[in-house]
Symmetry: C2
Subunit: 118 residues, 2 copies
């Protein structure tokens, strides 16, 4: 199940706040927020699903192959997005002091399992 994979990522990374699997149409398949955190992970995902679509368009124009991963580091939140298929992506939200490298690693490890289930 998606929720187990999301928990595995979010709970095992320092500073992990939330994770979700979402379609490029902005509709979430599954999301998980770590206890004690308040984040509207669906709204975050929706905002970035639009940006992802723009990034893919730019990638097509520039002929740099498929976009695999996007990271956005802001003052209060880091968002790591990994594309799962043409239609779905996995996103992880981390606090500003979160372990970005470990988050990326866990997403890479868990992605094939999620891809099989999509």
């Amino acid at each position: 199940m998606f929720i187990d994979s999301l928990k595995r990522i979010v709970d095992n990374v320092e500073g992990g706040i939330a994770g979700l699997v979402m379609g490029f149409d902005g509709i979430a398949v599954e999301s998980y927020t770590r206890e004690g955190h308040k984040i509207d992970v669906n709204t975050v995902g929706m905002e970035f699903s639009f940006i992802l679509t723009q990034v893919r368009k730019a990638g097509d124009i520039l002929q740099i192959g498929d976009v695999l991963e996007i990271s956005i580091k802001a003052e209060k939140l880091t968002i790591v997005i990994r594309l799962l298929s043409h239609d779905y992506f996995l996103a992880l939200a981390l606090g500003p002091e979160g372990n970005y490298g470990k988050g990326r690693y866990l997403m890479r490890v868990v992605a094939p399992k999620l891809q099989q289930e999509l």
Copy 2:
């Protein structure tokens, strides 16, 4: 000078291809491409200056503070962007096997110097 800082980043990172300082309006201040590489770094920058603007808008909506850094990993190219000010950003293009961590590190080191000159 900007060109020295760009060379310092691009030439010192494994897989470094090109670097540029660009305004959010898509107009480059300075760019540098490593010898032996063919990349239209200005076109890459222009495409991503538009995306950066969208990311900043999303950041404002989500109230996650200022956007500091964006990375996009595609099959054939990795692009790392670091915001220098409200008007300018620094971008680095790396090959798919490039040393992403070192690239980010060098950009962080060089950024204050570029910010002083802007």
